[in-house]
Symmetry: C2
């Protein structure tokens, strides 16, 4: 099967792209097509930079040798589309541009067709664009001509290639799952699609193909994957989109280690093949509880240290009322050490305290070790014994500072985790990291969480995640203590992927659904097919889903998800180019057996 000759398909209308011609092409007759990027009229010569997605080639129109062409060239304006025939020649030595791959040649144009014209542009096609986001999105067909966005979409393409290549090499099968599926109100809010044939019924667009990928491995596909669109109708924040892309993976006969190893190989391949970065494997692993106590978050950014320490014990006997109150009511005192190169002035500390308050913190205590002495905002409550304990706990060195705060146990780690990020930003610690990309596994997630509105148990991530073996014997006593075979992959403090080893026995799955408040009927209606499938030889299985858009953001070094998606929506879930969503006709609604609720003010 390898004998089929490669077919490099050439189109008839051009001989080369605008990024292709080099010194060795000199004297060739060529045909180029592209957009007019820039024109310079020097009187008897006109230079035109002709652009396509492969590069830019300099064209020369000469009034002496080709007067008709020259007259046509006079009419060219920015973004006109043209086709030229001409001959490649060397540029004069002093006009060579070594920054451009085509910088040593130019094409003397012998004939030209204006294929299409362009009106005056609403904004310039340049990386450092000045136009508003609104104007850019309305004219996305122009915005996408900018080099940086073209680059991002090419990186996205390469990342898809690297993903599929790696997974196919490892025997994964790409299987499509339906987009018109079933609403499962357990998770986030579904996008619904009214059925015309079944009056009063609705499909839902999948939030993930979770259940279907489990069905596929139960059906015997031991390694499944799909790069798939998923949908969540949530209130949009920055870097959330109503539809997003996920690398969806599931495997049978595996444990957590296998999923980790495979995912690491996948990321290695993606990072190397797209941006040439070799990443270090295996990734470190930290448990959810440890991540919380050390970094105050389940997605710690490990490009910098600033590790949290609980020093309630040390401060247990301090004569400082507000700290004593916190400790007596079961709260904690938590601090972290800034390194020597993070210099905080009094004013710096005041500013930080203000910022700390915006994320729910209260006051901040500082302790510095200067000239062999401890200085602190609470010096008069410290003593030699306390000082030496603190120095030991934080391995405090000359010139270093500790920041400390106290609060209720369920709050202090999160607020200090937030402060940790603010300090890192303030001193730009991210960029001082030895590695640009810090990968981290966080495992042993809680199986359940509490819904703050209803006080009910909800699944922390996924109701089909398997509890760790040591909890299976006793699920009911303290469900919030149960830890699961559930894991996240974190890159530079952002969740890049998440998954779990799944429950593969009906009885256990039913017990979990029970704890989530579902009765028999409920379960059967929503998850009946999964429960059935678990009774017919369901193998041990697990998997992971990679947030593809986020990974591309990492690869492209952008903070905006809209820069890595061809046609993104706004935070109000609108497409500014097409104005979707839009009003539809009464006839359409009638066919779907629905009507609009009367809208008083809109």
């Amino acid at each position: 099967m390898e004998s089929l000759k490669k077919l490099k398909f050439e189109i008839s209308s051009r001989s080369h792209t605008c990024g292709e011609l080099r010194q060795e092409d000199i004297d060739k007759d060529v045909v180029l097509c592209g957009w007019v990027q820039k024109t310079r009229d020097l009187g008897s010569l006109i230079f035109v930079d002709l652009r396509d997605r492969y590069g830019v080639t300099q064209l020369v129109f000469d009034s002496q040798t080709h007067p008709v062409c020259f007259l046509t060239a006079k009419k060219l304006r920015m973004e006109f589309v043209i086709k030229v025939n001409g001959r490649v020649r060397a540029r004069p030595e002093d006009a060579q541009n070594i920054d451009k791959s085509t910088g040593s040649i130019e094409v003397l144009v012998e004939s030209i067709d204006i294929l299409n014209e362009s009106k005056v542009l609403p904004f310039m096609i340049e990386d450092d664009v000045k136009a508003s986001e609104e104007l850019r999105f309305q004219n996305r067909f122009l915005d996408l001509r900018r080099n940086c966005l073209q680059h991002n979409l090419l990186i996205r393409d390469k990342a898809m290639i690297a993903t599929r290549e790696f997974l196919h090499e490892n025997n994964f099968v790409d299987i499509e799952t339906p987009q018109l599926f079933k609403s499962t109100p357990e998770g986030a809010r579904d996008y619904l699609v009214p059925s015309r044939i079944h009056k009063g019924k609705f499909y839902a667009l999948p939030q993930s193909p979770q259940l279907l990928k489990q069905i596929l491995v139960i059906a015997g596909f031991d390694r499944y994957f799909q790069i798939v669109k998923c949908f969540r109708d949530e209130d949009q924040r920055a870097n959330r989109q109503p539809e997003f892309t996920q690398i969806d993976i599931e495997m049978s006969f595996v444990d957590q280690d296998d999923v980790f190893k495979m995912t690491e190989g996948l990321f290695e391949n993606i990072f190397f093949k797209t941006i040439g970065v070799e990443i270090r494997r295996p990734f470190p692993i930290i448990s959810y509880d440890e991540a919380y106590s050390k970094y105050g978050t389940d997605k710690p950014d490990l490009r910098f240290d600033l590790e949290l320490h609980d020093i309630s014990e040390i401060f247990s006997s301090i004569e400082l009322n507000f700290i004593r109150d916190v400790i007596d009511s079961g709260g904690s005192v938590v601090g972290f050490k800034l390194t020597e190169d993070c210099k905080l002035s009094r004013k710096g500390i005041d500013n930080l305290t203000e910022e700390f308050k915006t994320i729910g913190g209260k006051g901040l205590i500082w302790i510095k070790y200067i000239d062999g002495n401890i200085k602190s905002s609470i010096s008069k409550f410290l003593n030699d014994n306390l000082n030496s304990q603190i120095i030991e706990k934080f391995s405090l060195n000359e010139g270093e500072t500790i920041l400390i705060a106290s609060d209720a146990k369920d709050k202090i780690f999160e607020t200090m985790g937030g402060l940790r990020l603010k300090v890192a930003n303030m001193f730009n610690l991210m960029d001082k990291s030895d590695e640009k990309y810090k990968f981290l596994w966080v495992d042993r997630f809680p199986l359940f969480d509490i819904d703050n509105e209803t006080d009910n148990l909800v699944a922390k991530h996924n109701p089909t995640a398997a509890p760790l073996d040591e909890f299976i014997g006793n699920l009911t006593e303290d469900p919030l203590k149960i830890r699961a075979k559930q894991y996240d992959l974190v890159i530079n403090g952002e969740e890049a992927a998440g998954g779990s080893i799944r429950i593969n026995k009906r009885s256990l799955q039913e017990r979990v659904f029970n704890l989530l408040g579902m009765d028999e009927k409920n379960m059967q209606e929503q998850f009946g097919f999964l429960l059935n499938a678990l009774e017919y030889g369901a193998p041990p299985h697990g998997g992971i889903a990679v947030g593809f858009d986020r990974v591309i953001m990492s690869l492209c070094g952008t903070n905006s998800i809209q820069d890595v998606i061809a046609f993104p929506k706004t935070t109000r879930a609108t497409c500014l180019m097409s104005n979707a969503p839009s009003v539809v006709s009464e006839k359409q609604l009638n066919e779907l057996h629905i009507k609009l609720k009367s809208i008083p003010n809109d």
Copy 2:
């Protein structure tokens, strides 16, 4: 970038798959995981066929050497999932199975884990399944364990690989377009998605990314592709699904020839890489009008001949009233010749006449050439002159038969085209073809059609298709006569792909929209962004969309679309496994600002 070592990812729980062990593995210690396909209890020995998606391996449990294992093996039932450790050994010579790749070895089991049990199956896991479609779809997790469906989904995966590989080699960029887009009531019926944020507004799921792919090439991506889900809410017929997959392709600076060449290369690669079939290029091209007059359809099956001939001229003076009436009122007489090996008895002709009536035909005339004489159902109206004209027109040879009918011009070609297929089926001419796959381009499609309900002009295929150059000067005089740069690819009489060269000037696009009855406001609302984009340097462009599911059906040799989709829906657009679509909560509807219309009888 080529230096990264390939990472073949091994999982910890098994050493080999069930399709892997061979003679050279004898004496190896192995670990296998899989499903119990069959057990044979020979008293002191139990044989188990262990299956996974890679194959079947024979396990041996020996009561003498491994009594504990043996006892466990006694409990095994069909579709139990097990993990075994054992040693590979040669089978006795008389027990070797040369039909199986693993047929010369077996594994003597030394330890066994039952990973999961299975209830008694609702139907047997075998290719030639007896269960109803309903039962199979309800239990798709079992149905998909059948070898034939696993095979089809693997072919589908391979076809996706071959597609992406070919297109990437030819510089196409894979770019995702949104699934939540805008309703364009011009085409087929849209699936709608109510917006929560924008009261009373709706997204539509795309029927194809047609407009967006045009935007992408206008944005400078000269070669775009995507394997993408599309949606059409039409009344389901056999082999239609509410969601379907399409290979979507668009290119700039191309003409029809370029699209043909590239598509042929794509199909060559797909057919060779999935099923090893080398297809012949270039594919023949026939115009829409010629296809209609020769085969009575725009998607002729060329695996057999049976070409239609208009013989109105020859019959213009015949004294047969019903034929004279047809001719006098502007109708036609059309016939085709059966080859010598198609023997039609009187009874055969009677049956065929009945079948002809079911597709709208009237009476059938037959003419045979037997022993040098013409015999016919209308012999007494024939004469030597007529006979010799007929013999010449059809190159009629000894033993051959002609079938003839007459009817109005817009009907006779279609009904005779239908009869042509019935005859081919009756004599199984498809299977006698020299090539298993007959590819054919049909081009020069009409730009417009008439909507039978409203008598309005509608786009025959696509309102952005460019008229052929010779029609551009005069679009209004007889719009139905306008032929477009619109083409279909037909394989064995099925439409496999369709596309066009697009309009790239705003003025021409507006004139076409005008003819389709759209006013300025209408156009701007529905297609404003496309019209705008055409004014900013839109290059010449065109493309094609390949019906992926249909191509997979061809590759798999199945007549059922449900055999090439993991989770298909019924013709009533229901998923029998999950029961989607389903009822949703009042809360969900309220959030979407819609309510159900009261349903009197449901």
